[in-house]
Amino acid sequence: MLELRLASRLGAFHLEAQLEVAERSVMVLVGESGSGKTTLLRCLAGLQRPERGRIAVGGEVWFDDDTGVWRAAPERSVGVVSQDVALFPHLSAAENVAFGLRARGVGATERRQRVAAALERLGIAALAARRPQQLSGGQQQRVAIARAIVVEPRLLLLDEPLSALDAASRRAIRAELWRLLAELSCMTIYVTHSPAEALSFGERITVLEEGRVSQTGSREALMRSPRSRYVAEFLGVNLFRGSLAPAGAPGQPPAGQTRIALPQGELVVSERATQDDAAIVIRPREITLALERPTGTARNVFEGTIEELLPEPPDGELVRVSLASRPPLIAEVTRQAVAALELAPGRRVFASFKAAGVHLVTETET
């Protein structure tokens, strides 16, 4: 169990965060640049001392301003993988991986065995003797991951580990990393800008906005009720801003339903809007795709071509489909549905959802 509560001030920027991570679990931390993610990670790694608060990992206190406890980075059991890799350029891949073991005084025989096992685990045993500059970006990142996990840290901090890679190696490593994290017995904090990564890695997601935790919860909870525009946009739930359609307009919906005019179309909602301006969330799973115009009870039907199919999580049962409809929509369907409808980019489909599948959101901030 990781418990963190801290406050840190850097010039005009003020970070004040509280966080809990369960044993053997992955917490995804998201937030725009400047939201304080990096500061938070540096405090957790022991590279920066917060002003106030407490950090405890598995009952071990790493920082407590009440008792004056402060453990610097070398005294913490922590592994860090960052987007800029930071491999030692003068050391081979194997020597890079061995660095932490050597620093902790692990003997040569055990060191060799553990380095070999870590390299093997990440599929880079054949590259052991290479220098970082002789490796591709993806290979370098594998070395960095091996280097971080070989010391078996209590806490693993992954700071956008895939964001500097090209799309192909990102996909390859993402799937592997997902399996790897499931095997590891440490707690992991995974910082990412990518919704796909957040949804595939995070059992729990914490959102940091302007130095404060704006929302924390399960992936499901966040998608059901994103508390801010940023969260909704980040998770790729369909969030639109519209206004009440003028009363008496043609095609008035049945009682109890509201028509909302969007800049790119119109929606019917089964809730009563109380404000003129409304933010609307349509969960991707509420959207049904079909090849023919549906004749059922769904009030909202949009036609468009498929732009992209993205499996979620990487090996999971669900696929996210982005549609170039008006307004643009993201649907989430099963793998079987994709196969049955032969969904592929460029294909014309009809997206439909019931008025009850649309939710008005009270935004905490815009």
Binding site: G46, F88, Q133
Partner: protein
């Protein structure tokens, strides 16, 4: 429409200025060396260099500057690391102190050393109690050279340490490396180009040191008369010996600087990369 013409004129004016200044300066630098080299024939030079006075001065110069460089390296590199990685009260003062010998007239430095380490000096008595005497000894020559070479070691080494990617130092820390381990395993190997530059420059400075040496250690053939001092003395008695010694010093200084440029220190890891690419 008319703008291109004056622009071209101004451009060629710039060119003339650049070429003119460069030619003048290079001629100014080369001429004394040529004049020096024209004074002797190779055979004459060899004969002069074999004279006992020259050989004695050469031996002394090499021994003292190697010793001085070693001392400056051992003391200077940790100070460079300290200045590059720490903030502390009085850091500015330390920085100025470290740079001071570079701008101080060497005779003033030598005089100050005499006041400090001379027989009646501030620390002289303590040294005498230990049976050590610095002024007018070979050890004194080394002390003078160390004093004058400090900025040439600390400057480049510090710049090199400051230029290290802080992410690498952070990575080392999170991997459990304490400062000493990080220093020897990461900082020192990666800052090697700058440190070697510092070694070459302090060696050159020690080899050419004159003012502080003659003031603090005197000009005693065999024990404190290094090559620059021997040149000075020969100028008054034996001009040809002075020429021979000067040519020798010129060649050594030129060789040190050229070696520094040609050796792969400037792009130490760049070369490793090039090798890798060739594979």
């Amino acid at each position: 429409m008319r703008s291109p013409a004056p622009r071209r004129a101004r451009l060629s004016l710039t060119r003339v200025a650049l070429l003119g200044a460069s030619a003048l300066l290079i001629a100014f630098l080369v001429l004394p060396f040529v004049a020096l080299l024209l004074r002797v024939t190779p055979g004459d030079l060899a004969a002069r260099l074999a004279s006992p006075m020259v050989l004695e001065a050469l031996r002394l110069s090499l021994a003292t500057s190697v010793a001085a460089t070693a001392v400056v390296f051992v003391l200077g590199v940790p100070v460079a690391w300290l200045l590059a990685t720490r903030e502390f009260p009085g850091k500015r003062v330390v920085e100025v102190l470290v740079d001071l010998p570079m701008v101080l007239p060497p005779t003033v430095a030598g005089f100050a050393l005499l006041m400090a380490f001379g027989r009646a000096g501030l620390a002289g008595r303590a040294l005498a109690a230990l049976g050590l005497s610095l002024p007018f000894t070979t050890l004194g020559v080394v002390v003078a050279q160390v004093f004058m070479a400090v900025p040439f070691m600390v400057g480049p080494a510090r710049a090199s340490f400051s230029g290290l990617d802080p992410k690498l130092l952070d990575a080392a820390a999170t991997l459990g490396a304490r400062e000493t381990f990080t220093f020897f395993r990461v900082a020192l190997p990666l800052a090697l180009p700058g440190i070697l530059a510092g070694v070459a420059m302090s060696a050159s400075r020690a080899l050419g040191e004159f003012g502080a040496t003659i003031t603090f250690a005197g000009n005693l053939p065999g024990s404190t008369q290094t090559m620059p001092l021997a040149v000075y003395e020969a100028l008054q008695s034996d001009l040809d010996a002075a020429v021979a010694l000067s040519v020798l010093l010129l060649v050594m200084a030129f060789g040190l600087l050229l070696g520094l440029r040609a050796a792969p220190v400037g792009s130490f890891w760049g070369h490793a990369r090039a090798r890798a690419a060739a594979r």
